[in-house]
Homo-oligomer: 334 residues x 2
Amino acid sequence: MFKLRSLVTALALVGSISVASAWEALPTQAPEPADNSSSPEKIELGKMLYHDPRLSSTGTVSCASCHNTMLGGEDNRSFSMGVGAQLGGRSAPTVWNSAFNKVQFWDGRAASLEEQAAGPVTSPVEMGMKNWDEVTTRLKGIKGYEVAFKEVYGENSITKENATKAIAAYERTLITPNSPYDKFVTGDKSALSAQQIRGMEKVAELGCTSCHSGAAFNGAGTFQKFPVNADGFLEAKYHFTKDKGVAEVSKKSQDEHFFKVPTLRNIALTAPYFHNGSVATLDEAVKVMAKLQLNKELSKEETADIVAFLNGLTGEFPKQTMPRLPETSGKTTN
Amino acid sequence: MFKLRSLVTALALVGSISVASAWEALPTQAPEPADNSSSPEKIELGKMLYHDPRLSSTGTVSCASCHNTMLGGEDNRSFSMGVGAQLGGRSAPTVWNSAFNKVQFWDGRAASLEEQAAGPVTSPVEMGMKNWDEVTTRLKGIKGYEVAFKEVYGENSITKENATKAIAAYERTLITPNSPYDKFVTGDKSALSAQQIRGMEKVAELGCTSCHSGAAFNGAGTFQKFPVNADGFLEAKYHFTKDKGVAEVSKKSQDEHFFKVPTLRNIALTAPYFHNGSVATLDEAVKVMAKLQLNKELSKEETADIVAFLNGLTGEFPKQTMPRLPETSGKTTN
């Protein structure tokens, strides 16, 4: 299942940012699968479903509760909180630019946004619905959804597949282009400060981008081992290895501690860090990564430069209208 | 504390809807207090604060969690769910048109939207912040709030008073005019169906509007006893008298079971009903009200007519842009 990335491009990056072609700006459009072409109506329906807490057993948790579209696309918590204030086992990844992940979830167990969208709704600790039949039954009880689904998919079309397709279509619009970094690599050399450029060079030199590669700095769907290097002090502090990553799903020892490479886009907005949200600041996250993945101790200045560069990966968030969620029509949904 | 409403206007309503002046359309602007004049910047700041879950101890509950602006201004739950999945003791009133309530909360314990906004944030079962110092400290740690408050109130202006004023200014924009009812009473006689007009006449004839009076059908800040008539069957079923209403605050026996008259605006969207959210459907709510307040048994047709009329009180919801919440800047807020 792993597309362990060739080091060729990564090595080409090392040394100099003059290899301009290695630095890619974020596309403003995400690729869509052949069986889920987008339309404004589908996106709007997806936006409604994404923000509707009635997709949870208690009517209090929507996709947006943990993947907040008004913020950095997650919840700034170590572990997300689902129905009944239950804690999930991992830190919520950002929904922004998730369209550029080839696989979804920290362990990459969903091959698409569509597949991902189906998961949390019926997770007992996330949205707590018994199954998708319960979800579609509830949606069918809300007249406005009947109308909205009909407009996109035709008569009697409230199904799990159509719901998750709409949510995925909406998520593909959640792109944050035009970060200072993007402006810089597309020609505006004043878009990054001298410190940020130093950080950018350091990131390439250290080899951060050998994993965090591509326009979304997410390795385009690759998995990597984390941590690579054992460190008793950091392990005692942050318990990184408690979570076996991909192996939690595959049950194979060779998958232990492998994780999908997370995007660095908008990283300044998504504290706390790592799969278990154990690191509170970006400074510390950078130092931890250097130590555990590259066995390097960064100086204070190097860390500050890299953090400055990472701050330059904060993009422009599209203005969105708030969806109007269809009414429950004079009776309680749940 | 009670402005028990004179029955004169109410009696004038009884009998005929030809007393056209008694039926008022909803104003499109809410009155604002002299010490909290509005501005676009203040409204935007209020919208941000209103939707920011970081105003709760867990970072998971915002004002909008229980008073959902994408829905009917509440949560369609019997009791709202705060931090740690704790249940409040009353059903969340709608935020839509709350600007037209003279007092706030079911027991009217807040004299203004400003005062109301301060409450849930530090309620242990709602948003769970220890006190407002904790809130303002957290807001001061978010650079974007520093900037937004400065723009509205000047330097170093992150205070409880300024935060609640901004929230109230935003809430005053949450108005839903142009319901079929509003169109009808301002001259479009086709806006209500024949059944809805029958329901409207019945509402006046029965005297519903003697309490649910005024443009917002909320008695303009009056309190009324509920239930007026004892009914063993309904009490056993719905436990209405468990909550002593105003007396829970005042501790005075004469205040027992008095509640602020809630608005009927958008009532079709805000199931379940009553202070304890014990009644799941609007049909049943209408029958219960007739029985307990007026000692009348409504026929199936009368009930259906009234429900049809109440559905005509669903207004037009303003299109809103989603607020961008200021980032936590590379570190965890809580």
